[in-house]
């Protein structure tokens, strides 16, 4: 099975287009990562269900339910 651990694969991702650090930072700061979503869809062999706007909307909506500590 293809390995798919997001972020922290700087050298491998850099060779694939220099997006490794962008993915890592997006994950670390909880930002929407549509490129990562498209890559997941590609590797899973199904077309993307969401457009970028829909993805961003769903992402932000789900963030509103998360906890921030005191």
């Amino acid at each position: 099975m293809r390995r798919e651990i997001d972020g922290g694969r700087g050298r491998r991702r850099a060779a694939e287009g220099g997006t490794g650090w962008r993915h890592a930072l997006r994950r670390m700061f909880g930002m929407p990562d549509y490129e990562g979503y498209l890559e997941h869809c590609r590797s899973s062999g199904h077309p993307p269900r969401l457009t970028e706007r829909e993805y961003v909307k769903e992402f932000f909506d789900s963030k509103g339910t998360g906890s921030r500590c005191c």
Binding site: M1, R3, E4, I5, D6, G7, G8, R9, A24, L25, R26, R27, M28, F29, G30, M31, P32, Y34, G36, Y37, E39, H40, C41, S44, E52, R53, Y55, V56, K57, E58, F59, F60, D61, S62, K63, G64, T65, G66, S67, R68, C69, C70
Partner: protein, 678 residues
């Protein structure tokens, strides 16, 4: 590493840590450098992580990298995503670190630097980090289920209901006390209020940028927001110096209370992308950057600690910042830096859905909490670099200062009005007297450290700018917690009422949204107002209630963790969670009992109410009502703890006596598709 070299290295670290603790503990009268505090903390964390967390991971939890995690099995490219452990460490730390580890140690500094530091360092290694790790482990094995769901399934439905009730009440007290800190920091401070007020339009602009203009471009929007924020900080100094503009941003604590309530309500009903998300990003960037810079600045200047190891208030229990002796109040005042129940919500929230391998939970759960404790140690250093006289003058109301004046005078903790005026002028404020809540004194300490570092590096000191930067840093992420907390409280209330009125549970039904938001805001707004008008400053009553409630939630988490360990057939290791649980139960019950029933009116709610009976003061009736309400809240928390512990004990006994099958509700085992050792 070779066994002999490893033995020598770890022996060296242990000896160095022990020596640092020796210096801290044996110093009496002489000035101690902050370096010793840092060495003691870092060596303890290193030993705790290397040995105790490894024992927990290998022997107690038996983490298995061959088992697929929820992130791998349920990978949807959005919530469930296998993520590099260092990236997730940063994500988890940003979610757990808030105002608590900064403010708690500052308040506990009234006992001296030693008790708080010992609790921060030892408490985290044996309690707080264990709680976070065990919660992460339990949720990881249950597809990222929440604390309430796990309490319901693993203990019993009553425990699940108790956990949910506890979270709701804690949320209300937490939001009130955090709002009180912001109000006390911003009252009569045009510079501070202008800067914080500017964060609202900046956040709205960022929201529009990343939702409408360039969807998903959070980095761009955040960079623009950060530049505007720094611009607002500098402009705040100019505004404060303008006779026409400054009065517009100069308000009393009561006026600020109404502003906070209105803000909390609006933030809760607005779409999440508009205000909450952009503010969250801004505060996360600022939080991580500032904490890193503070760590470097402390290492650069290694400031001496002016606060003694122990003050007379540790044994007398008549401290002007808050009443009560070292035991139990040091252990509930410092909650988040040592052990925090709130972390159980994060550890059973987004983080377990992103863990790529089970073994990563050790770094993220245990290691993340060690970093939070280190933030608490830095806050303790910042507070203890202040002159004790300044510290007590800032953190105490005039009434409390008068009551403690004799002890303060005998201890030499005195400060002249001229010194306070000069300090206030240096920090760009009109006064720094009676700025209770911890944030302003932390800001002065941080400003002095930052200014010392910039001065050591050849720059200007810029005390006033650093002070307001520190205030902005604290207020920004407190307001983020108020945004998210009010919203989460609203969801919980909608869910509860939805059981009897299903329409109310619909998050898109605006009458329900508005009514539930109003109820939550009214709840914390009432406690906030009560704190603001309290002659003793509010922190004296609200912070202990917050500490008790937070530790109560930790007790809930540890009950669930212990139950899971027993059901997994690891009863012989149940002490790893049962011991901190027993300690928390003792501390919480003692503190709760004293807050309610102590005969000292400064400490006991009922004694304080009795002391006001027959008073001619027009505020007496309101203060008596507040005391009775606080009594009810404290007793409610104690009841919840008792019920939860008793139901858990019953469950443990039934399982251990084989009267009930030990059924764990783990997700089924699926072998990972990742190569072992990747």
């Amino acid at each position: 590493m070779q066994p002999l070299a490893s033995l020598l290295v770890w022996s060296g670290i242990s000896v160095l840590g022990a020596a640092a603790f020796g210096v801290l503990a044996l110093s009496r009268g002489e000035t101690v450098n902050a370096a010793w505090l840092l060495i003691a903390a870092l060596c303890t964390y290193a030993v705790g992580y290397r040995f105790y967390s490894k024992f927990l991971a290998d022997r107690v939890f038996a983490l298995d990298d061959r088992r697929a995690t929820p992130a791998e099995r349920c990978n949807n490219g959005r919530d469930f995503v296998p993520t590099n452990k260092w990236v997730l460490y940063g994500h988890h730390f940003a979610a757990i670190a808030g105002a608590g580890p900064l403010v708690g140690p500052v308040l506990a500094a009234q006992f001296g630097f030693l008790p708080g530091t010992l609790w921060l360092v030892i408490g985290v290694v044996l309690g707080g980090a264990v709680q976070d790790f065990v919660m992460l482990f339990c949720s990881l094995r249950r597809d990222g289920k929440s604390l309430g769901q796990m309490a319901k399934e693993e203990v019993n439905p009553a425990a699940g209901a108790m956990a949910m009730l506890a979270v709701l009440f804690i949320m209300i007290i937490l939001l009130a006390v955090l709002a009180l800190i912001v109000v006390n920091a911003l009252k009569a401070s045009p510079w501070g209020l202008f800067t914080i007020a500017c964060t609202i339009p900046i956040a709205l602009l960022m929201g529009w940028w990343m939702k409408r203009w360039r969807p998903g471009k959070v980095g761009e929007a955040s960079a623009a927001g950060a530049v505007l924020l720094l611009g607002a900080l500098v402009a705040g100094g100019w505004v404060a110096g303008q006779p026409q503009l400054a009065p517009l941003f100069t308000h009393s604590a009561t006026a600020l209370t109404w502003m906070m309530v209105a803000y909390g309500f609006i933030a809760s009903v607005l779409p999440v992308w508009m205000l909450l998300c952009p503010r969250d990003y801004l505060s996360t960037f600022l939080k991580i950057t500032t904490i890193l810079v503070l760590a470097v600045a402390i290492l650069v200047i290694l400031p001496p600690l002016k606060m003694p190891a122990l003050t007379p208030f540790a044994s007398l229990g008549e401290g002007p910042v808050f009443a009560g002796k070292l035991f139990p109040f040091a252990f509930i005042t410092i909650a988040c830096g040592a052990i925090s129940g709130f972390h159980a919500l994060v550890a059973s929230g987004t983080t377990p859905k992103m863990i790529a391998r089970e073994s990563d939970a050790r770094l993220i759960g245990y290691g993340g909490m060690l970093m939070e404790s280190f933030v608490g140690v830095m806050a303790m250093i910042a507070a203890c670099t202040l002159d004790p006289g300044v510290y007590f003058a800032m953190n105490t109301t005039p009434a409390a200062l008068a009551q403690a004046s004799q002890v303060l005078g005998q201890a030499g903790f005195v400060v002249t009005p001229d010194v306070m005026s000069e300090l206030a002028a240096r920090m760009g404020e009109t006064t720094l007297l009676a700025r209770s809540g911890g944030a302003p004194s932390l800001a002065v300490g941080m400003a002095q450290i930052f200014a010392g570092a910039t001065s050591a590096l050849g720059g200007k000191t810029l005390d006033a700018l650093w002070y307001h930067f520190a205030i902005m840093f604290e207020a920004l992420f407190i307001l983020t917690t108020i945004d998210t907390g009010t919203r989460v409280g609203r969801f919980m209330l909608q869910e509860v009422v939805g059981h009897v009125w299903p329409r109310f549970a619909e998050t898109s039904w605006y009458p329900g949204v508005i009514a539930s938001s109003a109820l939550i805001v009214t709840g914390w707004g009432y406690f906030l107002y009560q704190g603001v008008v309290d002659p003793l400053g509010g922190i004296n009553s609200l912070w202990p209630l917050f500490g008790i409630s937070n530790q109560l939630l930790a007790a809930v988490a540890l009950c669930v963790g212990t139950t899971v360990l027993i059901k997994m057939g690891r009863a012989r290791f149940a002490w790893v969670t049962a011991a901190p649980l027993a300690w928390l139960a003792i501390v919480t019950m003692t503190a709760g009992w004293q807050k309610v029933f102590s005969a000292d009116p400064r400490l006991g709610f009922l004694a304080h109410a009795a002391s006001l009976a027959g008073s001619a003061s027009p505020d007496a009736a309101r203060l008596i009502l507040n005391d009775r309400l606080n009594t009810f809240v404290a007793l409610l928390f104690m009841t919840i703890v008792t019920v939860l512990i008793v139901t858990s004990l019953r469950e443990w006994w039934l399982v251990l006596a084989h009267r009930k099958p030990a059924i764990v509700h783990e997700a089924p085992y699926v072998e990972t598709g990742y190569a072992t050792g990747d």
